[in-house]
Amino acid sequence: MVDIVNIRAHAKDLLEKGTVKMVLGYQRGTAGVLAEPAFITDAGQADHLVWDPTCVQNLALYLVNEKKAQSHQRDPDTRPIAIIAKGCDSRAVAVLLQERHFERKDVHVIGVSCGTLGVVDKNKLSKALNGRVATKVEPHGTDSFKVTTAEGFVDVAAADVLADRCLECACAYPAMHDVVFGEKHEDRGYPARFTALGQLEAKSEDERWAYWEGHFNRCLRCYACRSVCPMCYCPECVVDSIELMVDPTTSADEKANRIKWIERSAVASENSMYHLVRAIHLAGRCIDCAECERVCPVDIPIRMLNNKLEKEAKDMFGYEPGLDPELPSLVASFRDDDPNSFIR
């Protein structure tokens, strides 16, 4: 069991000593049951920190943003940032290290183990509560949650409300950390990795297209899936090629010669292009925090695309992202015996 009191004490200590400039964590929000990001810079505020199954976000994103902000500051505070990281989040930090986005010394990872549980899926929770509104979710034993609603307490089986990714999680214990709270549980007793993916793979080609076409059709191209992803930190995304320029020094020629890989219209063809490019660009980098899928306002199962490539990379190339920051990236490496038979 993770006791928030310990985390708060640790955060307070870090801030008091000034060893970190900020603690990235979670706090209660006003918008709903999910916790919201907290940016604690003052030891006095450490008590705002919460830790419970509503801490769904992958805060590694804000490490990226902070780094970007720093590059614009004249005299940046270069002390490390402490981040509260679940298992998946810690892998995101590892990928960012692998991509030299920042250095190990720039981050202090406060790992928290999800134990046998994980975080809730908002939609599943509201379904399980049958319309009632949750105001608080706490772990209850090793396989259920105690949910508080206006009408009282409800006990909900974890398997019913855990986020899909948590159900298949193989890294509930943060591999990379400076300190860690909570224990490691080898067998969590949920379905194996890629179970959901397997069901989709088993469909026929036409069924799969029908499935994806329907989903892609619906995409608003709000890019929330991209904005929330810690790995989507490119200064200019292929979809920005429409207009965004990244730098006041960008020349007229560069702007005039921008490639329009994707048109702005949110139609199926352009949306597919967006999602396919994104999936390919995340191959070997996505660590399945599933933030992209969670934030999608129209529930597009984006995670499956990433999952597919993750699985192929694992099966065919023995590559798993976010485990070793020293390894070259999936597509920046190869083995002589990579699969060859698909080539004619």
């Binding site: 320029m245 020349s251 007229a252 020629d253 702007k255 005039a256 921008r258």
Partner: protein, 274 residues
Amino acid sequence: MTENVYLPKLARIASIKDEVVGARAIKTFQVEFPDGDMFEHECGQCAMISVFGKGEMMISIASSPLVKDYKQFSIMRVGKVTTAIHAMKVGDVIGVRGPYGNKFPVNDWKGKNLVFIGGGCGLAPIWPIIQTAVAQRSDFANITVFYGGRSSRDIMYRAELEKLRGVADVHLSVDQAEEGWEGYCGFVPANVMSTGVAPDNAIAITCGPPIMIKYVIQNLKGLGFADEQIYTTIENKMKCGIGKCGRCNVGKDYVCVSGPVYSWAQLKDLPQEY
């Protein structure tokens, strides 16, 4: 149904003149409207110019409203559409819709001294007033023009400015000293200051890079100009030109409709979002 505001008129490029060459090239285009169905405009107004296949952009109409056979645009090459139009030839056809925006209250300025202060590409929006004032010279008192570029090669409308010397007081400047340059060396605001202009019965109209405008206004205030005596234009990114696309607003004002012309009296109360 009323006329479709998004549909541009087709216009033929009648002449192209290189004003400035190099990295920040400026070209002046005069365009004609084939069936003579050209719109009327007022000083300070703009038009949306289309290069089909590339996009649209908002450009000040740089010819005087008194000119009835063409419209003039002076365009700096900075990005996609501007690059495309710079590559066009005489005879090529572009789209033009407009006019958009408010206008300089030139009629209210009859009998006054006009002081124009421009820098870089910022001569374009005020050029129509200069042209109008020159054409109706007797309606106005003194006309003074301050204009500067980074170097003498960056000075647009050079020949026209020289010609103007007969009827107006023209002060050209370059940012840095340069061989063969006989005018002022230094920034435009400093030129204004060192030359000195009297605020009495005067209207100052300034346009240019934001930083220049800032100092010009500061200096004009120093010279005793009242907020109401200072006019400028602001440029924000625009897509529709008709106050709907939602990006050019400064506070409640959509610059494409309520601007781009502002007196400092109006502008100083608006949020600094331009």
